[in-house]
Every structure is written in structure tokens, then in C-alpha cells.
Amino acid sequence: MSRVKLLSLQILVGVVLLAIWWIGSNVKIFGVLLLPPFFFSTPGDVFARVVRMFATGLIWKHLWVTLIETALAFAIGAIGGIVFGFWFARKPTVAAVFDPYLKMINALPRVVLAPIFMLWLGLGIWSKVALGVTLVFFIVFFNVYQGVKEVSPVVLANARLMGLNERQLFRHVYWPSALSWMFSSLHTSVGFALVGAVVGEYLGSSAGLGYLIHQAEGVFDIAGVFAGMFVLAAFVLVIDWGVTRIEDRLLVWRPGNSLNDG
């Protein structure tokens, strides 16, 4: 399918969905609105609300807070995951001892930890960061662990015979392999960092997109809820685009990731 055709079909889907929403909330069919504005708002109201959020500059503060929480959650979770992933992969005894506990913590739905983090860390950004970290850590940890374990034995033997010592093996073999696994899960882990931040804000905070949505919900301001959701979705798309750019740069050596594949 050509680019133009694909793009026009994608736009068409959006237009149709918006049209259904607009008709449902504006046009009475047999005397009833299928999508009553009290529950569904209207496209016009939501659009006006989004415009106002940006025009008054109110949204920037909240976007900034959510972005900072997401970035911190990702950075801390990723560093922890890398350190522990390497440690466990290189020391099988340690991995065996901690295995049941890791599985236990990972099996826990993270939302139940949110109130505890709030109790420990307060209503500021750190309780949200902590929630994001618990999500990001495990994704990065398991990928780095796998990346170190899955290094091809032939590549490893070759590197050893080339005279690489342990430190050089780490730098030239284990690290790039682990990193490639980590980056292949970058979309998921960044996404989870954001989920941690927004859910944390939703459950109790004084700023951020989650807070904004929660506030609007509290006063049955459906247009505000939808506006917050649309801004959040757009925010995710922008972050995802950035991640894709980083990924393309760092994983050029991977089959299927470069344009001059041959």
C-alpha cells in the first residue's frame, strides 16, 4: 500500500469515529441522543477544552510534572535493572537464591503498592517515580539477564581467543548484547514508566496529567476528562516517536533496523 493511500485511510478512520461521536451527541435520533453529552461530552466541547488548556498555559505545568516522573522512573528502573540483570546473569548462585522472591514481587499487581509508596514518600513526585520504577525494573532486569545469557558461545569463545580479558569481554561482548535486548523492550518499559506516573497521580497528587483527569472526574466534568485523555494520548505518541528515533540510532547493527539492509 502506498504511503498516501495508507495515510488517507488512517485519517478516514479518525474522521468516521469523530463523526459518529458528533452525531451521537448532537443529533436526536427518534427523539433521543445516543451519546448523551453528560456521559460522552461532544467533540466540539473537548476540542475547545484542549485549546483552552494550551491557551491558558495550564497544561504545561502538568505535562512537565508527568514527564519528569516518567523520565526519573525510567532512568532509575533501567539502571537498577541493568545492574541486577548483569549481576544475576554472571552469578547463577545469586540468581537461584533470589529467584522465588523476584517472581513473587513481579507477580504482585503494582497498583496495590501505590498507597504504600504514598505513605512512605508523600504526595509529591517520588511516590509516582517509585511506582514507575517497580514496573520498569522488572522489564529491564529480565531483558538484560536474557541478553547476557544469550550471548552466542561461538562469539564468546572467539573473543576469548582474541585475548579479551573479563573487563574487555564486558565492554565488547556482554554489554552490547544486553543493551540490544534492553532496547528491544524500550517501548514497553517507557510506556510502563508513564503508566506508573499517571496511575500514581490519579491515586493522589497535586499535579500531573493523572491529577488533571482525576480532578475533572471528581466534578463530573466529562469534557475535562476526555480532554486530559487526548492530551495524554498525544503525549504518549510523542514519547514513542522519540524512543523509535533513539532505537534506530542505537540498533543500526540489527537486521531489519537499517535502511541499507542487504
Binding site: S152, V155, A159, L161, G163, Q168, N260
Partner: protein, 278 residues
């Protein structure tokens, strides 16, 4: 054919590059017990000598080679490289693997330069040398490619440059051209012969392809089917050098040698299949 069992005497005064004395290799099996891969084996590769080991699939040729590289330790016997007993990984050996052993996350240039870099040479110098070696293996225009952007034969060339740039004193090759198609194998064979002719390192070349072995080497050793594989034949290849790995196959002497060695090898190959069927 030389007498077997005792290590063949070195040729008139030449020192041996690789020497195996009564080496026995066994593996512990997971369910308990051991698998005796290689029975007591002695062999010797003189300096400047190109020796090929041929045998049926799975006979333990690669195992023997890994013992020379120090990648695995024999349960008995001694491995001597350039007069010194082998302890740990061999620092003198360059090893070309059957599978792709280049690092997928490094460009051809970085892969080749790595061996010098880790030895402490400045990066600029290592990169210059790597460019030179990639030129020698015919990849001057592909220095910035990643392995997945190269063909199987090109990846082998990178591997060859990666091994040779370190100027190893002995070369160990484990069916290096095995995964390549017939034409590429012959081209790679000629490339190897050209590069080898420059300084004639001692080579131990493992292959299951008898024609390749005769075309390239000075001596062909035949290994019996495993377990308890042994060297059962030692044939000198008196074809003149320099050779062309493809044209030499039309030489009448090549056919004589091939017929003589194949008679012995065939029996072993049939033995392997017989056991597989049983």
C-alpha cells in the same frame, strides 16, 4: 602411510608447531557416565606445514582442535604449542570457527581492529591495520558494513582478517568454509592459500570435505568414526605449490591421491551411517 600410534617423527630437524602426545578427550554426560570422544591420539604439525584432518561428521575433529586452542582440557596427554606445554587458552593460536564468530554489533572494521585494540595498540593504528587487512581479503569497500549486511562468504572474510591481523603463530580452522556454497568455498580456499603463502604459518585445518583437504594441505590425516576416534591415516600431499584450489582438482596426481585416501575414508563414513541406522 606412516606407522601410527607413536607420534610421527618431525621432518628432518624441523621443530614442531603443534604436538599432541597421547591426548584423550572425554565428556561427562548429563545423565551420568562419560562419552569418550577421542581415544589416545598423537599428532604433530611442523612449522610452515598445512595439515588437514578429515573424518566423518561428528567424529571428534573439532573436539581435537578445541583442545589445541585450549578451549577444552583433555583428560589425559599433553598438548604442546611451539615447544611450550599449553596452559589455559592458547595465546599463539588464531582460530577460525565454522559458525559466524564476528560480533554482530560491530562494523567489519571494528571487528577486525578489536584484536589489536584489546592488545593495547592505539585505536587509530588498529583501524589503519584493519583497513589494510580488509583490503587483503577483498572487502576494502565494505569496512562500514555490519555483519548482517554482508553475505556468508564476506562474513568469513571478515573472520579471516580478524584472525590474521593478530599475526598468530599457528592457525586453527574448524570447517571454516563449511556453510558456504561450492563456488565460494573454492574462492575462499584460494584466498586462504594466497594469504598463507606470505608467511606459511603452521595450520591445522579440520574439514569433512576430502577434496578441499587435498587441494589445500601438505598432509591429510584421516580420523576414524567416534566414539573413541583415532587418527587412522596420514597421507603426504606432494602436489606442487603454489596451487589453485579449483584447478588442482583436474591434476592427475590429485585423482591418484584422492582415490588412495577415499578408500580409507569411505569405510569410516559407512561405519558412522551404519551406527546411525542401528
Amino acid at each position: 602411510m606412516d606407522s601410527l600410534g607413536a607420534p610421527p617423527a618431525p621432518r628432518d630437524g624441523a621443530t614442531s608447531a603443534i604436538r599432541l602426545d597421547a591426548v584423550r578427550i572425554a565428556f561427562r554426560l548429563e545423565g551420568g557416565g562419560t562419552y569418550d570422544a577421542v581415544a589416545e591420539t598423537s599428532l604433530e604439525v611442523a612449522e610452515n606445514e598445512f595439515v588437514a584432518i578429515v573424518g566423518p561428521t561428528g567424529c571428534g575433529k573439532s573436539t581435537l582442535l578445541n583442545a589445541v586452542a585450549g578451549l577444552l582440557k583433555p583428560v589425559a596427554g599433553n598438548v604442546t604449542v611451539l615447544g611450550r606445554p599449553l596452559a589455559g587458552l592458547s595465546r599463539e593460536a588464531g582460530y577460525l570457527f565454522q559458525q559466524d564468530a564476528v560480533m554482530p554489533w560491530k562494523t567489519a572494521l571494528d571487528n577486525v581492529a578489536l584484536g589489536l585494540e584489546v592488545a593495547g595498540r592505539p585505536r587509530a593504528e588498529a583501524l589503519d591495520a584493519a583497513r589494510g587487512w580488509l583490503g587483503k581479503v577483498g572487502l576494502a569497500r565494505f569496512t562500514d558494513r555490519y555483519p548482517h549486511q554482508l553475505s556468508g562468504g564476506q562474513r568469513k572474510r571478515v573472520g579471516l582478517a580478524q584472525v590474521l591481523i593478530r599475526h598468530p603463530k599457528i592457525l586453527l580452522m574448524d570447517e571454516p568454509f563449511g556453510p558456504l556454497d561450492a563456488q565460494t568455498r573454492q574462492i575462499m580456499g584460494n584466498l586462504l592459500l594466497d594469504l598463507w603463502a606470505a608467511d606459511r604459518k603452521a595450520v591445522l585445518f579440520v574439514t569433512h570435505d576430502l577434496e578441499e583437504a587435498i587441494a589445500l594441505s601438505d598432509r591429510v590425516l584421516i580420523m576414524s568414526a567416534g566414539p573413541n576416534a583415532r587418527i587412522i591415516g596420514d597421507h603426504r600431499i606432494d602436489l606442487a605449490r603454489p596451487r589453485d584450489a579449483a584447478d588442482i582438482r583436474l591434476d592427475p596426481r590429485f585423482h591418484e591421491l584422492h582415490r588412495a585416501i577415499w578408500g580409507q575414508l569411505k569405510a569410516e563414513v559407512i561405519k558412522t551411517y551404519g551406527e546411525a541406522d542401528a
